[in-house]
């Protein structure tokens, strides 16, 4: 019951609408954008996969420093290569939509920030996160002392069980207290 040649069946449309936070219009628009990314021969396949190289050419993701992580997190491929099917794409859009719950957003944010995929945010993950945030230009990057201080502050504030890493519950606890987590 995946995507047939180039049309979405009515049944799958209403099913997707029930399972995600997107409206029917948004799902149809997503389908249009997704099929634009497919090559000619892939358009006939059901459940075609688009490799990560083509996904990150989308204008919404092009300048985003987290684009590779986003593709990795939402991908359901066996080889863990970051390729997305249409349903993965819908998952992505649903998590970033305005009507998604805080829990969904924080869950996926945690996975995106967890660069080594071990289920917790440790010092290396936090360092990579801050470097992504501040960009590549040298004058905005934090020096190593500032980085150490920042990481120790973050761990002090959010690590409740004092095990040196931030796990999902602690992350969600910090996020729930921050009203600006709107994206």
């Amino acid at each position: 019951m995946g995507t047939t040649a180039s049309q979405l069946s009515k049944e799958s449309l209403s099913e997707y609408q029930e399972l995600t936070f997107l409206t029917k219009q948004e799902i149809l628009l997503a389908h249009k954008r997704f099929t634009e990314l497919l090559e000619k021969h892939e358009k006939e396949q059901i459940d075609a996969r688009v490799p990560i190289g083509r996904i990150i050419t989308l204008p919404e993701l092009k300048s985003n420093p987290f684009k590779e992580r986003i593709c990795q997190v939402f991908s359901t491929s066996e080889q863990k290569d970051g390729s997305l099917t249409f349903e993965d794409f819908l998952d992505l859009l649903s998590a970033f939509s305005d009507s998604a719950t805080l829990e969904i957003k924080s869950h996926y944010a945690f996975r995106i920030f967890d660069f080594d995929d071990d289920g917790t945010l440790d010092c290396a993950d936090l360092e990579k996160l801050v470097n992504c945030l501040t960009g590549e230009t040298n004058d905005a990057k934090l020096s190593s002392t500032e980085m150490k201080q920042l990481i120790s502050n973050i761990l002090e504030e959010s690590d409740i069980d004092k095990d040196g890493t931030v796990n999902l519950s602690e992350f969600q606890h910090v996020i729930s207290r921050s009203p600006d987590f709107v994206r």
């Binding site: 985003n64 801050v130 905005a140 959010s158 009203p179």
Partner: protein, 718 residues
């Protein structure tokens, strides 16, 4: 021998089994909550909360299948809306959710078939059959109606472009504008349906003044004898029985001998305005409490750094240059925060603090003095203009002079406040933003207060006030146009060509939002005197939207200062509610309650106050149906009795006190729970260490035994 790894259910960030079991528990709790209260006996008396609610769960793979079955079982027993909500909220991929949903549905279908077979033996009443059919048929319609509503959202693409380049801060300004448009549309629908339409269908007299273009500017002239203003409205019931073509002064309500539809105009006028304000107030208070609830934090902790790191990235921004600017901003902010934290410990000396206080005092004195000076100036000028008008020398220029003066003051004085603010030093930029907003607000409210005071008590003053407010709205719009033109377009050209700087001007969000709130206050003040004013306001807001949008895209750049979008939205909605709507309601209520309406125009011509229209109607109703007298007695006894108001206010205060105590208690519980989690973490580490050391001991003992045995064996052989 491998080490024992204990999987902690709390730290399994992406383990699917953990997610499924977590949602299993959630659905169970939801089911229980819907049906009965969970009894305390269900929980085993354990001192460790984590074990109590999770049960002993190991995350092995074959347990996942049984867990999924349990989840499906729980899901299908929930009502449909809850089920959909649960499924949506699960952080699993769409493919997995589809599977779960399919299984749940087929189970439910099977159960329903079973139920149907059982029930078809007892004759299913046609009511519940009908209910089933309605539910089955209406779902697709409900979904398509929802998507249609969503597609009606105006300006979607434009807003996306703005947020893509400038981020959530500038977007919040345009969203605020959209909210104001909706409020005005609602107001217009109400007044249009109940006031303008009936009166337009039954015009009381014909007017012969011709239309010249100046009416659009001044609002007077041929406009003053149309539905636009208060004076046109009849003070009798429509349609009129006795034809009296001179603009009659008939005060009787001719309900008794009208066979067709009769419409009591004064009553309609009074109730429509009252209801419109009341409903707007309720909507505004509700949205204010919602946004306040979102931004209120129970625990005023100092985890600013963490929150900044985790939540500052604005995923709506997609243009490369903007993304670069945002990264630079974040880097600078983090550095500033770190520097602040290290410097917090240096205490400023007494002398420094005293100097700072002096500077603040001087700044505030300047602001208050300039505001008072402007208030006095506006008052005397308006008296002067009024005398000139009474002498009959009113030309459009003279009519527009007062609004122009007020708009110029509104434009120049905030610039003065900004200058004054530069010489002060504040602890943080957000405090500076709040102080600036406070000063601007004080200026605008005092301007409006002086004008309100000046307008009351003239001949057919309601018409005059309506016209003045129309002129004020118009001037406000013209000055917004000029400000956009000069402030943004010309400044950009000037800085590019003359100063040769690359920097474009920054869009000042707070000032623009305050301008919007000021315009809306004028509209609310004026709706009593000019029921068509919401239309003018809607047109003005539409034009402002497109002008500001194009100006922002062409001339401005993304703001450099950090912008706390949700907190600012709360503040804007609060400002819209408390000074703006409340002030307008107080003025309108005061006018309705105690001011004598003018005797020559309008629907309340012969009454002492507008409020008497309502009372008059109640008396007539009472005469006709004596059983309704209990209502009026209740009204006299409760609403007009000060004792009851005291008691009501006392109860209200008690409820507030109670709630604040609950919040305090919850704060204490949060800190206790945090300590508990910390202790459990330490317990866990201790237990793991012990387990490992015991395991190692066993291993060592085993090794020693083996070596001893082999040693013995070797010995035996020799």
């Amino acid at each position: 021998m491998s080490e024992i790894i204990v999987v902690d259910p709390i730290s399994a960030g992406r383990n699917r089994g953990a997610i499924i079991s977590q949602y299993c528990n959630k659905t169970l709790k939801l089911r229980r909550r819907r049906q009965t209260r969970p009894s305390i006996r269900d929980f085993s008396p354990s001192s460790r909360p984590s074990i109590r609610s999770y049960g002993m769960e190991g995350d092995t793979t074959d347990a996942e299948v049984s867990k999924r079955e349990r989840l499906v079982n729980n899901l299908q027993n929930l009502p449909v809306s809850d089920r959909v909500r649960m499924l949506r909220g699960m952080p699993l991929s769409v493919a997995e959710k589809k599977e779960i949903r399919h299984v749940a549905r087929s189970h439910r279908f099977f159960l329903m078939q079973k139920e149907k077979r059982i029930l078809s033996n007892k004759k299913l009443s046609c009511c519940s059959q009908l209910k089933y059919y309605i539910i089955i048929v209406s779902y697709p319609f409900w979904y398509s109606w929802l998507s249609f509503l969503h597609s009606l959202q105006p300006w979607q693409t434009l807003l996306k472009r703005v947020s893509g380049r400038f981020g959530t801060g500038v977007l919040s300004y345009f969203l605020f504008l959209k909210t104001l448009v909706f409020f005005n549309v609602f107001l217009f629908l109400v007044t249009g349906a109940f006031l303008v339409l009936p009166q337009a269908v039954h015009p009381p007299y014909r007017d012969t003044t011709s239309f010249s273009g100046l009416e659009l500017l001044t609002g007077a002239g041929s406009f003053s004898h149309t539905v636009m203003y208060y004076g046109y409205y009849a003070n009798y019931t429509l349609p009129r029985r006795s034809r009296d073509e001179g603009g009659g002064q008939n005060a009787s309500t001719l309900t008794s001998d009208s066979q067709q539809f009769s419409y009591n105009m004064p009553l309609a006028y009074f109730f429509t305005i009252g209801m419109a304000f009341f409903i707007t107030c309720i909507i505004l208070v509700y949205s204010m409490s919602k946004t306040f609830g979102r931004s209120f934090r129970i625990n005023k902790s100092n985890s600013i750094l963490t929150m900044k790191t985790f939540s500052c990235w604005d995923f709506k921004v997609i243009k490369k240059k903007s993304v670069q600017i945002m990264s630079e901003n974040i880097g600078t902010q983090l550095k500033e925060l770190l520097a602040e934290l290290t410097q917090k410990h240096t205490k400023s000396t007494f002398c420094k603090r005293f100097c700072r206080l002096m500077v603040h005092g001087v700044a505030w004195t300047i602001c208050i003095a300039s505001t008072t000076g402007c208030m006095a100036g506006v008052y005397y000028f308006s008296e002067f203009i009024h005398k000139v008008r009474l002498d009959g020398l009113s030309s459009p220029a003279k009519l527009l002079s007062l609004p122009t003066v007020v708009s110029v003051i509104n434009l120049l004085l905030p610039a003065l406040f900004n200058l004054v603010g530069w010489m002060e030093t504040y602890e943080s930029p957000s405090v500076f933003a709040y102080v600036a907003i406070g000063r601007n607000l004080m200026l605008k409210m005092s301007m409006l207060g002086v004008l309100c005071f000046h307008w009351l008590g003239r001949v057919c003053w309601e018409d005059f006030v309506g016209q003045e407010l129309y002129r004020f709205l118009l001037m406000d719009f013209i000055f917004t146009l000029l400000d956009t033109l000069f402030g943004e377009l010309l400044w950009r050209l000037f800085s590019e060509k003359v100063l040769k700087r690359k920097r474009k001007p920054v869009f000042d969000i707070a000032r623009n939002v305050l301008d919007l709130i000021y315009g809306q206050t004028l509209a609310w003040l004026g709706v009593l005197f000019s029921p068509v004013l919401p239309v003018v306001q809607i047109l003005k807001l539409f034009l402002v939207f497109y002008i500001k949008m194009s100006s922002v895209m062409l001339n401005c750049q993304a703001p450099r200062k950090p912008y706390r979008a949700s907190q600012m939205t709360t503040i804007f909605i609060t400002l819209l509610c408390i000074p703006s709507l409340l002030g307008a309601s107080v003025c309108v209520t005061y006018t309705m309650w105690s001011i004598t309406p003018s005797t020559s125009c309008g629907p309340f011509r012969t009454l002492d106050t507008m409020f008497k229209a309502g009372k008059h109607w109640m008396e007539i109703l009472e005469k006709d149906n004596p059983s309704l007298s209990v209502l009026s007695k209740a009204h006299t006894y409760f609403v007009e009795n000060p004792f009851f108001l005291f008691v009501g206010a006392g109860i209200f205060l008690i409820v507030i006190y109670f709630h604040s105590q609950v919040v305090d208690g919850q704060r204490k519980i949060i800190s206790l729970l945090q300590d508990q989690i910390q202790n459990e973490g330490e317990d866990k580490k201790f237990l793991i260490n012990r387990l490992q050391s015991v395991h190692k001991q066993k291993q060592d003992a085993g090794k020693r035994l083996k070596s001893q045995v082999s040693h013995l064996y070797n010995h035996q052989h020799f």
